[in-house]
């Protein structure tokens, strides 16, 4: 990598690492793991950095790497055997309340969703991406994003009936 490219990469990492770790944490639910996964994604990014810069889309590219890295990690055998979760999710996770209780309810509910449904919700409602951006990050079609979103909200509705109403948009 040329010195200019490397300098730009360093600046990008320094400026974006916290946001990337937060997104990753939302996807995986563990800060330490999120840090490791972000590091893996950044290593991959370094390898392709000149091409990513040329495409003027480092954010989208990195997001795609992070999401794919998380989904890939979840497919590994050790993930299925040792899930990084404090407690197993309950089927019914409490009554409407704000603050810590609501936060824990949502996290446990998200943890019980399939990985791609969880990723769809995180990207759309936490990261604020639209359908097309979410599809790009997940490397799938917008139709798939819509159907996954619909399924995920339906699942959340069952898990958090007091938080998620019937009228929630997809």
């Amino acid at each position: 990598m040329r010195a200019d490219d490397e300098r730009a990469y360093v600046e990008f990492v320094q400026g974006r690492v916290l946001a990337l770790r937060r997104t990753t944490y939302h996807l995986c639910g563990d800060w330490h793991l999120a840090e490791d996964l972000v590091q893996s994604a950044l290593l991959l990014l370094y390898r392709h950095w000149p091409r990513v810069v040329a495409a003027s889309a480092p954010d989208a590219y990195v997001r795609q790497i992070v999401v794919n890295t998380v989904l890939e990690e979840r497919r590994r055998w050790w993930w299925r055997r040792v899930r990084p979760m404090a407690e197993p999710p309950d089927r019914h996770v409490g009554s409407p309340a704000a603050g810590v209780e609501g936060r824990l309810d949502l996290r446990t509910a998200l943890a019980s969703l399939p990985a791609r449904q969880r990723a769809v919700l995180v990207l759309r409602y936490w990261e604020g991406l639209d359908v097309a951006e979410t599809a790009e990050a997940l490397s799938c079609t917008t139709g798939t994003v819509k159907s996954q979103t619909s399924d995920a909200i339906a699942a959340l509705r069952r898990l958090l009936p007091d938080y998620v109403s019937e009228g929630t948009d997809v």
């Binding site: 990598m1 990492v13 937060r22 290593l43 390898r47």
Partner: protein
């Protein structure tokens, strides 16, 4: 909470959790790991490229091996000798890997002072193909060297005999295909190859007692055996035997009779072992080995043989002629020539004339009628073999005698030594790998240092 707004609110509430700090040095460690990762990939890619280059280099050699037998085509025209022989080379391929095509000459060439310095070689009759006859190398024995070998009159085959051990078979090597045919010898005996018939069908050999044929004290009795190559069968003729050995035999031009040296006589026998007549040889002379019978069929050539007489013949190495029918008809006068390699006609022959040190030499055509001599080919007398440690010598030179009638001389081109040996490609590949790897490592090291210096400056600037 209801609708999309409710979901967004829920997520927003969940995001109020305080973030832990990044572990110390996370960014620097990530960048260092990224560099290392790319470096490793580059090294891996370089090694893969080197391996690919190596494989690409070796592939032609392997491919050439695979298409054995496809190279030599039908004779292109008049057979010819190169006007000089190529120098000694360690990378000359074998007949098995890629055949030479019909050969004009078989010879053993290499370092004089080293027992393993010689190579058994054939040279193409149509182009400058040089090949080692690996079937000869495989029968080499310690203390004796290469086995006896005969080149067929048409130059398409080589017959490999035994050495000092009892042989259970002869090996017939096809020089145009590289194929081999083993001809069983039963009972096993010491092979003493004598002559190949002009029509290519028969080979005469003696069942020499085991031991060096040059060590006459060890020899007992040898009987004549005729091998019919059409059937692969050997017929023994116990009535045609000599003690201690049949020194020489030569086929008549019609391939139906032989002149066989038995003691001080030459017996003329038919191919089925019937004796026609006995000829008394001139004093101190023996039948000329392999090429005694002249093309006209009426004369037989004899030569002084130091092993038999033990003392030098008064006429030196002169050829002395006798009538094949035993008559007193006048014969040509004795002539002084070098080692006879074959007859072009009854008055023209080809000989090998060694130089004064027996290092190097020339193949010469001589007209016995006019005395005119013409050099057909020559060995480089100044050449050194065995990595410069020894003179190069050529021994056991044989020509494809059936091709001599139309023999020409060609200007020797670059020798075609066949596919390079695999060990050579490996050596070249290793050297190339070390050189390219060294250059690449030096360049990469410089780039890494520069980049690290720049990145370190960037981090310090950012920290400030």
């Amino acid at each position: 909470m209801t609708g999309d707004h409710g979901l967004s609110t829920l997520f927003a509430l969940a995001d109020t959790e305080a973030e832990p700090a990044l572990r110390p040095g996370f960014t620097e460690q990530t960048i260092a790991l990224a560099r290392r990762s790319v470096r490793r990939r580059r090294v891996g890619a370089t090694l893969a490229a080197v391996v690919a280059v190596l494989l690409a280099g070796i592939a032609p050699a392997l491919f050439a091996t695979a298409r054995r037998g496809a190279v030599p085509a039908a004779p292109a025209g008049r057979p010819s000798l190169p006007d000089h022989f190529a120098s000694y080379s360690d990378v000359t391929s074998t007949v098995t890997r890629q055949p030479a095509g019909r050969a004009i000459v078989y010879y053993e060439y290499g370092g004089n002072d080293f027992s393993d310095g010689l190579q058994p070689l054939v040279v193409g009759a149509d182009r400058d193909t040089y090949r080692r006859v690996d079937a000869v190398e495989e029968r080499k024995s310690m203390g004796y060297g290469f086995p006896e070998v005969l080149l067929s009159p048409d130059g398409t085959q080589v017959l490999v005999g035994g050495t000092d051990r009892e042989a259970t078979s002869l090996t017939l090597v096809n020089l145009t295909t590289g194929g081999r045919r083993d001809l069983r010898v039963d009972p096993p005996l010491g092979i003493q190859l004598l002559a190949w018939s002009p029509d290519g069908r028969y080979v005469a050999y003696g069942d020499a007692p085991v031991g060096s044929p040059n060590d006459v004290n060890k020899l007992a009795t040898t009987e004549l055996v005729i091998l019919d190559l059409a059937t692969g069968t050997s017929t023994h003729y116990p009535q045609i035997q000599a003690a201690p050995a049949i020194r020489s035999a030569s086929f008549a031009p019609d391939s139906r009779r032989l002149a066989v040296q038995l003691g001080a006589e030459a017996w003329i026998v038919t191919i089925d072992g019937q004796r026609e007549r006995q000829l008394t040889l001139p004093a101190g002379q023996e039948l000329l080995m392999r090429y005694a019978w002249l093309p006209g069929g009426t004369l037989i050539a004899t030569t002084a043989y130091s092993y038999a007489s033990g003392v030098p013949h008064p006429d030196g190495g002169k050829l002395v002629f006798i009538n094949a029918d035993g008559s007193d008809r006048q014969v040509p006068a004795p002539v002084s020539v070098g080692g006879v390699l074959g007859w072009i006609s009854s008055t023209r022959l080809v000989t090998f004339e060694a130089d004064e040190r027996s290092v190097g030499g020339s193949i010469v055509e001589t007209d016995l009628g006019t005395g005119e001599r013409r050099t057909l080919s020559r060995f480089n007398r100044a050449e050194r073999c065995a990595y410069g440690l020894s003179d190069c010598i050529a021994t056991d030179l044989q020509l494809a005698t059936g091709l001599l009638g139309t023999l020409d001389t060609r200007a020797a081109g670059p020798p075609d030594r066949g596919p390079r040996p695999i060990w050579m490609w490996i050596v070249v590949g290793l050297i190339a790998t070390f050189v390219l790897g060294g250059i690449g490592a030096a360049l990469q090291l410089r780039r890494w240092r520069n980049r690290r210096r720049e990145a370190s400056s960037d981090l310090q600037r950012t920290a400030r």
